[in-house]
């Protein structure tokens, strides 16, 4: 069984083979992997190096907590991964970015309007939550295509607030 695991733009090919054991990028590794009870607490001994972690499945990735740092890991079966790469090769991605609310709260201000040109990092929404004002910023350069909220509105987590049409995406 071959998997491709992606962490922070780094890719690892991990092979789990009944005969050959575990190989990372084709290098065999001595692995002892233990789950503590039914919890997400895991213990790994990798060539005797001890790594203690919490691992949880999310919608489209795995959260892995090691020594205070949270890693967002995408794990794909190698075949699925190749198919997806083939499909996306040469195609142009439809460039639409959506700014969503990271938590419930109240909209304090929306300093952009439809048609505005924004740069990556520009403030597009000010949201009050946990007694603080938080600035939501554009994730990319582009043009504001729609604004779904106004100041004073109560919003839920993951609610779509502002849409941005991106510059033409590069073929990957």
């Amino acid at each position: 069984m071959k998997y491709i695991a992606t962490v922070k733009d780094r890719e690892y090919t991990i092979e789990i083979d009944p005969d050959r054991g575990i190989l990372i990028d084709d290098v065999p590794q001595e692995i002892d992997f233990q789950r503590l009870g039914q919890s997400g607490f895991l213990s790994l001994l990798m060539n005797h190096r001890s790594v203690s972690a919490v691992v949880e499945e999310k919608n489209d990735h795995w959260d892995v907590l090691i020594q205070g740092e949270l890693y967002n890991v995408q794990v794909q079966d190698e075949r699925v991964y190749r198919l997806e790469r083939m499909r996306s090769t040469g195609a142009t991605v439809d460039g639409q970015a959506i700014v969503t609310s990271p938590m419930p709260g109240i909209i304090v201000a929306v300093p952009v309007a439809v048609g505005d040109i924004v740069k990556r990092g520009d403030k597009v929404v000010v949201l009050e939550s946990m007694k603080m004002e938080n600035e939501l910023r554009a994730p990319c350069d582009g043009v504001i295509t729609h604004v779904n909220v106004t100041a004073g509105a109560n919003v839920e987590k993951d609610q779509e607030l502002v849409g941005i049409s991106q510059e033409v995406a590069e073929a990957s």
Binding site: Q29, V64, I66, G68, V73
Partner: protein
Amino acid sequence: MLREDGLLVKKFDKLLIANRGEIALRILRAAHELGISTVAVFSDADRNAPHVRYADEAYHIGPPAARDSYLVIEKLLDVAKRSGAEAIHPGYGFLAERAGFAQACADAGIVFVGPPARAIEIMGDKLMARATVTAAGVPVVPGTPIGQSDEEMTAAAIQMGFPVLVKAAAGGGGKGMRPVHRVEDLPDAFAAARRESKAAFGDDTVYLEKLITEARHIEIQLLADSHGNTIYLGERECSLQRRHQKLIEEAPSFVVDADLRRRMGEVAVAAARSVNYVNSGTIEFLLDRDKNFYFLEMNTRLQVEHPVTELVTGVDIVQEQLRIARGRRLRLRQEDIQIKGWAIECRINAEDPYNNYMPSTGTITAAHLPAGPGVRVDSGVYVGNEITPYYDSMISKLICYGETRGEAVLRMRRALEEYRIMGVKTNIPFHQHMMDSHRFLSGQFDTNFVEERFSMDDREIDRAMEAALLATLAAHEQSQRAAQIVAPGARDTSNWKWLSRWERLRR
């Protein structure tokens, strides 16, 4: 005993804690240790919280929003009456610095574990506070009187020179506070500070202060009994802030020597005496590069960061609060207070340090606390705890003690590595990065350090391969299990053997 200033002081055996989270638990523990029985209150969001489970009694007081529960004075007084509680500890935040609440307690014959209402009132009004302490000989930062128009304040700002600080008269904890470096940014700053202050305190009065640059935030912890004795328990270094929210506090401070400590302590005692202060309180000072210090404000309550002082002085501040409220004389004189060792506190917040410290909500799915020598955790979170936008994002405090500052820092690094919270993002990586920073290690920082000269971008993280492997093994485990459920007869468990095979090879 009802004092002339309206402060009620008497022995009590049952205490209501008008708060939630880690501080409610902290107060409960102190009360239990003094043999005082405890009454907790809880909103719908907190039925399963530790402060409810650890209290002797618990009463429901309404929906999650604080304005409908923890901030409703009538509900709290009603619970006190129904439960027979003779005293109320307000903790910090919520009603802790509402003079009206202290007065309402006194009027109902209930001991308020805090200062007289009048002291809260004076110190809660920044302008009145400045006038009062100035009269007592305490140095203050230059600023405008209250009640000036935007135009007058703008003129004053130009005269005193930028940068200036827009401050809410009713403010505290950094809320309603905005630094302004250019005259053209003043209108926006006035508006933002008013909005925040209105939302947080129901009052939108603002004023200006000169912004002291390269300043440190140093505060002095005080204890005052109802018999006129006031002592200081040394200083806390609280310069590491972001948007005026403290993130890391230490005791003692790297830059305060014995002589400066004594001078700041004596000025702090004078400031407290100027309002006939009783109970625990803190005088916040700005300390400039030349070791001049200016009164900023007085916090007329227990502070979040009180543990660092407890660890270096050996004094249990919350127990002292309860003893003082019971009318006892301070057992400690100034000469009994000695600073020994070093303590550091990291505030663990539900926020994403890699994404502009955006607050993070969710349900806590795992919580493993660090432990061992020199490590203290004051936490109010639990597995199953929903971190909501209703309350502030601080979910826990991690405090480490060492014989020296270096040892405290190294212990903090170790403890941060041990700490495991899942379900929300936390600022633990921020603290780890800070503990590795040369500027922090050498004590070279001021109140702007975090915002202006500290970045998470240069943090090196070297466990990506292990993370990739762990996620893959978990995913593989899951898919194998799923396959076995679907067709148990069709496959044997040999796919699993490699795991134990590697184990066996090594045995």
